[in-house]
Symmetry: C2
Subunit: 541 residues, 2 copies
């Protein structure tokens, strides 16, 4: 199979199924979820896409391209609105150019020139943001036609800064189990390099194949571990970034108590302060000991209680995914109508069977029934495959006019039931109101002793031309409930441009003021990814 | 035994041994370490102390006292220079008053008044800082006489802000295993309150009995766990602080990926941005499963390798203290000439004997010999008792003219040997040069897969009147090596005023600029604990 990165959707083009396959999925949605008849369409060709001519050009001292395809590939992330616009060939917000630096010196030069020239710079790793983190639409949402006039605000132009050239594996320190990695290194390339040292990072966000070390750090990406090492944060020993005001680098030490942690200023900085160029990451061997099980519960709430008890007993499962019945249905897990808890334990040093047994006991106390080895394997397999294939499904759904998106959060256990109930009601109402109907599912992706990180997916039939409006209605309904019930606007998808309004509600005004003051110091011209994290109203120019 | 907090030294007065007991310790130092004859002196009485009259008075709307004893008790932390000056009754830098707010409203009022009046405000929890974090000497080190003129800089006066009035246990959420705790709650009071819920915090810094929740957070205090939950940081769900610009509060959620973590802005903020008033902390039941062992090594370096292997196998010991032969001697562990690794494992859910066995196996591979049950108990006991009693020893040593201090760091495994060797040489040279002789010991307090956190203690005969100069020479020699070899200036003792020079070397200038810009936003008048963390040169007034 080929390996052509899709310009409009998730992943590689060759994974996009033919019309017949997609028609089968459409039929399944009609049959199983009661969707109205769906129309399956073909994706655009590159030639069909429309985008404006570049408004600016870069000096020769900065490697860059204004190639049409490169600009198209750097226009959007991979959210539903991104796929939707991509599928229509609407690339109005395309950047004026794509800078392609290969070292920090070229980044310094680019930022200096951009600061002088009032040109916005958007760092672009793998471009898998689902929150508008890499989109050159600086002053609002450009809509389906995405006119450039609306997208530039007061900036002369916008450059997308590709980190692909910073793809070095600089050092692997086997003795201290750490590695210094360029920001532009993708997941598979990283682990391939580490494998030669019998090491791994073991950070697997769902975007793993198509996202980069720098992107993970900038967005505080969540990985596959359900407990303990839940975010890239937990693997970062130090970070180095080039800001318009100079280099910001934390010392590579195992831990420190010297002042506020500088790593934490860059983790989640989303390109608003500078460009992450490399990091020291903690690495580890592949754990030889593993054990797993799937347990079904008649009641989702029994599964919730079992999960809470498992994590509060500090059994620290590597995998602890509780699926509600709708997740079970969507993922074709053979336990219709039930909730399923997929548990996995792993260890470098010791067998984990007794730990799994402890978890089994807890599940049994809460009415859980272990699945047979056979159906267990099925559940495990369909879970794993759907994990990395999940985003590909979005491509198909967009092609048949289905509104599809996810949102995720974290909330304390004491508030979860009330929040989940209110959220389900609000989102179902919004789906009905905006789309006539719709489906909402929930699973836990990460769990903590003080609360779960639930992950929600919604699906609804979209109305041609009204999709963005419909999407916003549902997304807003969900986010409003999260804010009302003391949850966070995101556990691991970052703030970007999509979550800004709610991020402002989540944080104290004094904290946002403090972040702004940092931004003004590190990025005095306000050129760094304007509009993410902090609202554009305060951008200086 | 009584419970009178010592005004000049560590802990309670009643624990200070009589002259004869101290003379015995002096003799032991002379005999075992080859110290010259020591003169054991009596501590001052409160009446002997000298301090200047208050230069300012507070408005009636703010509860405060100018009581002489209260001011004396809020003059110093508990470092060697602090004890030294206290022992001489030299309280020149005493604050003009001690504010005693009982709620946030009174703190708001105090900060507003102080901002208008150009009065510095120093938040004071338990006052156990060993880095000059609570000392009203704003512009330099006041010396043994501590003249107030030199201490105030351009400020009209200095107020110490006691957090003792914010001592509420606000809420205990058993379901989510968390508790909302006032900043002024001391360690024992916290755990006493939690015990009624069968919960504990399980954060035991050496200062535990005399330090507060707010102080732990402000200084990123290290606790007793050798791995995993090494700092208070790991227990903090959210923090609330009153800054001159308003309240800064993070949302109480189990985790979030929304922008740079606001908790991490306050963790390590050392009172420079505002006053921490309360926090949600993650709590847990007492773990029923425990196992421990002590292993001796002929070579310190074999112990180092065994420790590295244990932590890199992710066995995650709760206790993992490697003592070098000098530590063994000073702590009277019955293994003369050896290095000793004290290992402890604990679990909420499962027996930990097999985990301990794994660690034993690793030790054996590196030539370790397990101590017999009997001497093991001795080692364990003397270790535990010396942990909380250790600081009391400082009182005794100061009373007999011994220079004594500790410093601690964290460094990656690949650099540890070289750093330790250079450090040992530099500190021994400095001790010889400054004091004619001296002793340096090392233990690991915390360990990480990527490196250890070594903790050093030095002892030397001091020369009457030259102690501060001698102390500075040794301290500087050590800190310079830490910087040179890529270690951190502190793993868990904070920056304060003592570590500032090296903190500036450790951090990027751009990062310090960013911190300064935050400070200016949150504390526009520059009244909050001026001189800690950031150098006074940039204080506005």
């Amino acid at each position: 199979m080929g390996n052509t990165k899709s310009f409009w959707g998730w992943g590689v083009t060759e994974q996009f199924p033919d019309w017949e396959t997609r028609q089968k999925l459409a039929n399944r949605l009609e049959r199983e979820l009661g969707f109205p008849e769906l129309t399956v369409r073909e994706p655009p060709s590159l030639a069909d896409c429309h985008l404006p001519d570049p408004a600016i050009s870069l000096p020769d001292t900065i490697p860059a391209t204004t190639d049409r395809n490169a600009r198209i590939h750097h226009t959007y992330g991979k959210s539903y609105p991104d796929l939707l616009r991509g599928f229509r060939g609407a690339f109005g917000p395309a950047p004026d150019a794509v800078a392609q630096p290969t070292d920090e010196e070229e980044i310094h030069r680019l930022l200096a020139w951009a600061s002088e020239s009032n040109v916005a710079v958007i760092p672009f790793g793998g471009g898998t943001s689902v929150v508008g983190g890499v989109e050159p639409d600086l002053v609002g949402r450009a809509g389906l036609d995405g006119t450039t006039e609306r997208s530039r605000g007061t900036y002369t132009g916008v450059i997308s800064l590709s980190l692909d050239g910073l793809d070095s594996i600089h050092e692997v320190d086997e003795h201290s189990r750490r590695a210094r990695i360029g920001a532009g290194v993708y997941g598979p390339a990283l682990n391939e390099a580490l494998e030669t040292h019998d090491l791994q990072l073991r950070h697997y966000p769902q975007s793993y194949e198509f996202s980069t070390v720098g992107g993970w750090i900038a967005t505080r990406a969540g990985g596959h571990f359900a407990t303990r090492y839940t975010h890239i944060d937990d693997f970062v020993e130090s970070v180095r970034a080039v800001t318009p005001a100079g280099v910001l680098e934390s010392r590579a030490v195992p831990a420190s108590g010297a002042g506020p942690d500088p790593n934490r200023f860059l983790l989640g900085s989303e390109g608003a302060f500078g460009v992450i160029t490399e990091a020291w990451l903690r690495v580890q061997p592949r754990p030889p000991y593993r054990a797993r099980a799937s347990v079904t519960f008649d009641s989702f709430w029994d599964g919730v209680e079992a999960t809470r008890e498992i994590v509060q007993a500090r059994l620290s499962p590597a995998n602890c995914r509780l699926l509600d019945p709708t997740e079970v249905l969507l993922n074709e897990v053979p336990a219709p109508g039930k909730s399923v808890l997929v548990l996995g334990f792993e260890s470098l040093a010791e067998p984990v069977e007794t730990t799994l047994d402890k978890a089994r006991d807890i599940c049994q106390t809460h009415g859980g029934t272990e699945q047979t080895a056979e159906s267990h394997t099925d559940a495990g397999k369909s879970w794993r495959s759907s994990f990395f294939e999940g985003p590909y499904l979005f491509n198909q759904l967009v092609s048949m006019g289905v509104l599809v998106d996810t949102f995720e959060t974290a909330v304390t256990w004491d508030r979860f039931e009330e929040m989940h109930t209110a959220l389900t009601r609000a989102v179902q109402n919004a789906l009905t109101e905006a789309c006539g109907m719709g489906v909402l599912s929930c699973r836990f992706t990460h769990v903590y002793p003080d609360g779960p990180a639930p992950y929600y997916t919604f699906l609804a039939p979209a109305e041609d031309g009204r999709e963005l409006e419909q999407w916003r209605a549902v997304k807003s309904a969900a986010a409003d409930v999260l804010m009302e019930y003391g949850a966070t606007i995101t556990h691991h998808h970052a703030v970007g441009r999509v979550h800004r309004d709610w991020y402002e509600q989540e944080q104290s005004a004094t904290y946002l003021d403090a972040l702004w003051s940092m931004k003004r110091t590190l990025d005095p011209a306000g050129i760094m990814n304007p509009g993410v994290l902090l609202k554009e109203r305060e951008i200086r120019r």
